[in-house]
């Protein structure tokens, strides 16, 4: 046999192709194709990483500026002759103060400040100088006055929100050229803003109200905040946690430990794996048809959003819990049963505590998914414009609210480019929450993970 092999045509053929140390043409070709394949793989990995980097850069470069906001600090004289005509601080009278009563006060303050600082406002009349201030500022001043009416008659130093265009000028969104074409702002106003900045009364600060303020109307991007959206998302997460965790764990325990092997159990299992892959928008249709139209729960309420997200999160939690239960070695169960524990005692006293870290990790990841989910919430009316904070739970679960991802979508649908900045900023906030949740999940896994 060996001799036959040595004499075979293949063996003689290979010696023809030359030295063993010098690769033949065919070998070189094969090696080149190997290198090409390898390069393709590497470029695919690089493409994936670049996509991640591009995504993050795009969001961060657009959104980071929303954490800064331009304010104009001025001394405003709260003229009692205008605010409190009765002169007795009667609450009923004070309630009648409108933003129209307050506007002239700010306008006067503006003029006075300009005079004191000796700034000549070329080409800008009093009304246009006042337009540097946001339309939201009188409302804020009104709330400030009503919070403590004894302030009337005093001169207070107040931080007035600058208008969106002025804010955009310092963030590079508005330029002298674009202002010349813009009906909302003129280059002269921008020059005046520059002078105010030099005088130190116009400055950018950290934008706390972005996290606390409610949404604002289309023309006031500078005042729009995430307060209602964060609260709404938090309410929904509470509902999801309270409903999905117990139901999911109970269902997993049943399927993993008690369910007999029959068609019924198979049906449930197939069902769960299919539900995990049903498009999220279908859950929105379910919420609209069942919870809103059939049961009559209110639209845009966190309770409906919470229920829909619960149904969406359940498969994730069930799948995670089942694998956590499976990972507990059977010897623990056997030992418990061996010393006389009932099956229920073995599960609840021994297996479940050992599986708890895995269950919690799965739950947090499920919650993180639910937090970023948008499509189903659009259908149950969470896109509505909500300026009122929802009340305290449980009644607040039925008040209209917004949600973080829906607020992002809402802002992208508006005309003013300042809302793109807000939307990207909101995404950053959303991503920060997600990073925190995932980090907690990873820490839990690292800290408590056991290998048997």
């Amino acid at each position: 046999m060996t001799e036959a092999t040595a004499d075979s045509p293949a063996a003689t053929g290979s010696t023809k192709s030359g030295s063993l140390f010098k690769a033949g043409a065919r070998t070189r070709k094969r090696h080149a194709s190997e290198r090409r394949f390898r390069l393709m793989g590497l470029s695919a990995v690089i493409f994936g990483i670049l996509a991640l980097v591009g995504l993050m850069t795009s969001i961060l470069s657009n959104g980071l500026s929303s954490f800064q906001q331009t304010y104009v600090t001025m001394d405003v004289f709260l003229d009692p002759a205008k605010l409190d005509k009765g002169g007795n601080l009667d609450p009923a009278d004070l309630e009648k103060i409108t933003t129209f009563t307050i506007q002239p006060l700010i306008q006067t303050a503006m003029q006075k400040t300009l005079e004191e600082l000796g700034i000549a406002a070329e080409g800008v009349n009093a009304k246009q100088a006042f337009d540097l201030i946001s339309k939201e500022a009188p409302g804020e001043l009104r709330r400030y006055i009503l919070a403590d009416p004894t302030r009337i008659g005093k001169t207070v130093s107040f931080d007035l929100l600058a208008s969106g265009r002025i804010d955009g000028y310092y963030k590079g969104r508005v330029t002298m050229e674009s202002a010349a074409l813009d009906s909302n702002v003129s280059p002269e106003q921008l020059m005046l803003a520059d002078k105010l900045k030099q005088a130190g009364i116009l400055e950018a600060r950290f934008n706390w109200s972005f996290f606390t303020a409610p949404d604002a109307s289309d023309t006031r991007p500078e005042a729009a905040g995430l307060g209602v959206a964060i609260l709404g998302s938090a309410y929904m997460m509470m509902i999801v946690l309270v409903l999905a965790l117990p139901i999911g764990v109970a269902a997993s325990i049943y399927l993993e430990e008690f369910a007999p092997q029959n068609r019924w159990t198979d049906l449930i299992e197939v069902n769960i794996s299919n539900l995990a892959a049903v498009p999220s928008i279908v859950f929105g249709i379910l919420g609209l048809a069942i919870f809103i139209n059939f049961v009559g729960l209110p639209q845009s309420a966190p309770i409906v959003g919470g229920l829909v997200l619960t149904l969406m999160t359940l498969p994730t939690i069930i799948i995670a819990t089942r694998s956590a239960l499976k990972a507990v070695p059977p010897s623990i169960n056997d030992a418990a049963l061996g010393i006389g524990a009932s099956k229920m005692q073995a599960i609840f006293h021994h297996i479940l505590p050992l599986a708890a870290p895995g269950i919690l990790t799965g739950t947090i990841i499920g919650l993180a998914q639910a937090l970023g989910e948008t499509a189903p919430l659009l259908l149950i009316g969470m896109v509505a414009f909500v300026r009122e904070y929802p009340g305290a739970p449980p009644e607040g679960f039925f008040d209209p609210a917004s949600a973080l991802p829906v607020q992002v979508y809402n802002w992208t649908q508006r005309g003013d480019p300042a809302f793109v900045e807000r939307a990207s900023g909101a995404i950053i906030v959303l991503l920060i929450f997600l990073v925190i949740m995932n980090a907690v999940a990873i820490l839990l896994r690292r800290r408590f993970e056991r290998r048997w």
Binding site: R30, H31, E34, F37, R38, G41, S43, A44, V45, F47, G48, I49, A51, L52, L55, S58, I59, P246, I247, A251, I253, Y254, F258, A259, I268, N271, S273, N274, L275, A277, V278, P279, S280, I281, V282, G284, I285, L286, I290, F294, V295, G296, L314, P315, I318, L371, G372, T374, A375, L378, L379, E395, P405, Y409, T412, V420, S424, I427, L430, L434
Partner: protein, 486 residues
């Protein structure tokens, strides 16, 4: 009493029941001189379970059904004359409900007493202004019929709520007494409570079934309503999609299907090769340092919510494709296009494909690789001629799962693909998909009972059926494949 107060009372009763049951078990055992069959805590647990579960279940079911039943009985009493021409009875019911809520507010503020309300007549009092003063804005003046219906709605609601509260509390107390009285040393409390808990566990696993039933039921029910108003043949075969507010719409499904398939095709054409190559490279070539860095980085892409991808499409990819490719080549001027949505969706699917393929490639037995290397094959030849053919069923499964996700994806196409329904080959044109139209038809201002709104349910049903078929097929293929090597 609001439902939350009732829930708290029932839970309080359950806690009290636990301690009473425990004490009673100990006491009877002392009195009779018998050893308890179960630990005292199990006696307490049994009582608590019997107090809380039936009562809360009753409350839940009642809250779920009450509005439906009341509405049915009131709606039957509204004469046909009160329903405006072209309007629907359900819209009148919405008014009735709003007025009833408003009246509750008026009473709560103490402006009007119960007796005054009973005498109030819509023809004499300006109900609309009254309600506006408590923040309930109505579109038109209140007709006497509707107002009477609202008053009746309110009174029925009050009565049923009262009966509900009584019923729930009686159930809780009744079960408390019954389960406390039957406590005696020989009662097998542990067995009883364990059977009870098993039933609860089984009930929880039914939620998955109920969800599916709810989805299929609501989709089917509303779709049938839709097909009663709009011919099914037109829906499935017409090539124009042109909804009108005033009726007479063309609701052809083909342009939406085309858009969906086109966007998904672009997405998969990007995601499948890239995802597969990433999986192969990381599994077969990459050193441990690159692996430990690149793998989590790619997985981060999978954890990012789709709204983020949508924004990325809207503010970065869309304008980039328009300014650098579509406009110079004269292909289009729209920043939202099939290409925009497809590419971004492709990026979203890359980690999905790569992690599924990674599992599949790792499942190919090492012996097959070794055999191939032993024959002198290079790595890439082994991958192309041994591993991939062996892993093919799994990869097809992953492809089908990714396709089902692409078809059902909503936010990226809503923000990236545009809203105009057209049948076109140019990928730089804005087109629309099934999911985009579901969102736009259901968030619009059209009334609910019109075909323009109900078409969303028919679209949802087709979407559900498509994705379900893809998923089942994929799971079938993946399962079958797994059996080969295990």
């Amino acid at each position: 009493m609001t439902p939350s107060v009732i829930v708290l009372i029932v839970l309080g009763l359950a806690v009290a029941g636990y301690f009473l049951g425990r004490q009673r078990a100990l006491k009877t055992s002392m009195r009779d001189g018998l050893k308890l069959h179960s630990l005292p805590a199990y006696h307490g647990q049994t009582v608590a379970l019997f107090v809380a579960v039936p009562a809360l279940f009753l409350l839940g079911a009642w809250l779920f059904l009450q509005p439906v039943l009341i509405e049915g009985s009131i709606s039957g009493k509204i004469p046909d004359s009160a329903v405006p021409d072209g309007g629907a009875r359900s819209l009148v019911m919405v008014d009735v409900r709003r007025i009833a809520d408003g009246l509750n507010l008026v009473i709560a503020q103490g402006n009007v007493s119960e007796d005054e309300l009973t005498d109030m007549r819509a023809d004499f009092t300006n109900v609309r202004a009254r309600l506006a003063s408590v923040g309930v804005a109505l579109g038109s003046d209140v007709s006497p019929v509707v107002f009477e219906a609202a008053k009746e709605y309110r009174s029925i609601e009050r009565t049923t709520s009262f009966i509900r509260n009584i019923a729930v509390l009686v159930t809780a107390l009744g079960f408390a007494l019954w389960s406390l009285r039957r406590i005696q040393p020989r009662l097998r409390a542990r067995n009883i409570s364990e059977t009870f808990v098993t039933a609860l566990l089984m009930g929880s696993s039914l939620v998955a079934i109920l969800t599916t039933v709810g989805i299929v039921g609501s989709l089917l029910f509303e779709s049938i309503e839709f097909f009663k108003m709009y011919p099914a043949a037109d829906f499935f075969l017409s090539t124009t999609w042109n909804p009108q507010f005033r009726g007479g719409s063309d609701l052809g499904f083909l342009p939406l299907l085309w858009g969906t398939i086109y966007v998904s095709f672009v997405a998969l054409a990007l995601a499948v090769p890239v995802g597969l190559m990433i999986a192969i490279y990381l599994a077969e070539y990459a050193g441990s340092s690159l692996r430990s860095f690149a793998k989590p980085a790619i997985e981060v892409l999978a954890g990012i919510p789709t709204i983020v991808y949508g924004l990325f499409a809207l503010i970065t990819v869309g304008p980039f494709l328009r300014d650098w490719i579509a406009q110079p080549l004269g292909l289009g001027t729209s920043s939202s296009s099939v290409m925009t949505a497809g590419l971004v969706m492709g990026i979203m699917l890359i980690p999905f494909i790569s992690s599924l393929s990674d599992d599949i490639i790792n499942a190919v037995p090492q012996a097959m690789r070794d055999g191939s290397y032993g024959l002198g094959a290079t790595k890439s030849e082994t991958i192309k001629q041994v591993i991939l053919p062996a892993a093919l069923p799994g990869i097809v499964g992953a492809f089908l799962l990714a396709a089902s996700r692409a078809i059902g994806e909503t936010m990226i196409v809503v923000m990236g693909a545009g809203a105009s329904a057209r049948l076109d080959m140019n990928p730089f044109e804005a087109m629309t998909t099934i999911t985009v139209k579901i969102v736009s038809q259901l968030t619009g201002d059209t009334e609910f009972a019109s075909p323009e709104t109900l078409v969303a349910f028919a679209l949802g049903l087709t979407l559900f059926v498509f994705t379900l078929c893809l998923n089942i097929l994929a799971l079938y293929i993946v399962r079958k494949y797994r059996e080969q090597y295990e």
